[in-house]
Symmetry: C2
Amino acid sequence: MSDINFNSIVISTRIRLARNFKKYPFVLRMSADNAKEIIKNVSDSILNANESFKNDFEFYGVNELKSKGGTLLEKHLISPEMLKEDREHAALISKNEDISIMINEEDHLRIQVIKSGYNLDEAYKTANLIDDLIEENSEYAFTEKYGYTTSCPTNMGTGMRASVMLHLPAICMAGKMNELIATVNRLGIAVRGIYGEGTEAKGHLFQFSNQITLGMSEEEILSKLRNIIEQIARQEVDIRYKLKSDKLTDKIYRSYGILKNSYLISYNEFMDLWSNVLLGCDMDILTVNRNELIGLISKCAPYNLLADSKQNLDAGKRDKLRSEILRQALK
Amino acid sequence: MSDINFNSIVISTRIRLARNFKKYPFVLRMSADNAKEIIKNVSDSILNANESFKNDFEFYGVNELKSKGGTLLEKHLISPEMLKEDREHAALISKNEDISIMINEEDHLRIQVIKSGYNLDEAYKTANLIDDLIEENSEYAFTEKYGYTTSCPTNMGTGMRASVMLHLPAICMAGKMNELIATVNRLGIAVRGIYGEGTEAKGHLFQFSNQITLGMSEEEILSKLRNIIEQIARQEVDIRYKLKSDKLTDKIYRSYGILKNSYLISYNEFMDLWSNVLLGCDMDILTVNRNELIGLISKCAPYNLLADSKQNLDAGKRDKLRSEILRQALK
């Protein structure tokens, strides 16, 4: 079982570091001037760091966030917090969208690195690099005893949240997902649906992340998460193998047929069918361009549809446009 | 409305003539020797008529009917009556399967001509030709008062049953089919499902035929049927136009998607989806090879599947093979 392909279960990997600057009060207590200064300092650190960073990052101020926030949210490049209008926010986002630096979110600084597939080490390395760059110019709030201090105590210590998004259709079909969530919760791992906390799981996609940030080193957190993820992935592969049947193949084929041929499709139905098709692809039941398939999640999400079509669309028209995109992409 | 394309509503046309020979008792009372003689006489009339007929017709005796009867039945080339084992049957079937001459069915002779589309005149002309050929050698039972005498009184007179198979999805979707059946019944027109009397209507396909054969000439019967069929076709086209919507397009597209991509499909589900796709084709909602689509009805029917695969298949395997044929045919 050691030759398992984790990339067929793990859709993406995310590392997020929460940091605050020693010089300023926490976000909820800081002044508007503090907020602006922080935005300037962080932007300078990144954009003046070296020529390639300057070209690679895009700056999103309050206005840009207002107009493009929904799209960025659906791509997991910013958090819902960033769409609130109670303070001056900003974000620096790399062009290939794997790095997002949120300024004045819940903390002064949230560094987020997303990698496709199972890439905890690479994501952590990149986050660390950005972290060091910013620290060169502004000292972080840090104590020997508690590590990085954060606005919410649940992030104290490393300030790190490592999360992986897993595609677990077989565990779900076998009715074992609730049991799994309960088990990993007891081990200090949180489980969320595709759009973060509180949202319902769509497309059998689940984010697993460390709940505990204090009293463990970054390496310990990553190693513990890695162990649990790999166990879950093995369980998923195991059940996939047992579920193999003509009925499952039929379900997967039909899902693909509808995805390729609908004329109206809701995001929820799309996600259900999408999950079946990805399962079919990963079980070698059908042949599709896997990267393209994964890209469809954000392409077909409501805000992105609006952004791409540059029109205001009601739900019915969105469903029509979504079908159009799918027919084009999968033909 | 005079430019309506009847071929988009009428799938096929059938003329059937019932005849008995003066020289022999009716089928139920004839001897085994009578039966054999009749088979020989009819076969001789056709096969010795001219060289082209000889090459064009295939003879099916008792043994051939036993082994291939199911397939011929599904193709409407013989009637269920011909599968009974109570007497010596035979059939002469033209290679392109548009003419079928059943010997010792309910009557000594049943001449059947099937044409695709709306072709009452052509079908009647061909049936007449065969009729005349056979009559040259053996005198029919005929009286001045009652016309051709037949085993069952409902066929007396012309002995002609003219029927057309109509595809009426819109009338069905609008919930108007029962009303239509009641109306045409009152006008002396019988309505049956795709596989003859008593079978449930599959794929929104209905056979309309004259109930009355006595007291009217062949031309009067055809003209009356023609009038009614054309009214029904106009109603169907009218409702199709009114039903046009994104929802209907979606239904048609999805039906096509499933038909092209299933891995297991029952005949009933196939017929439902098939009907939607044909509707889509005839409403210019999607592009498919219409002849190929119509050919799928018999290709996908249970007996034909068995015949083509040359294996004994249970329902599950038939459903799998049917999907395979559909994926091949529609790709």
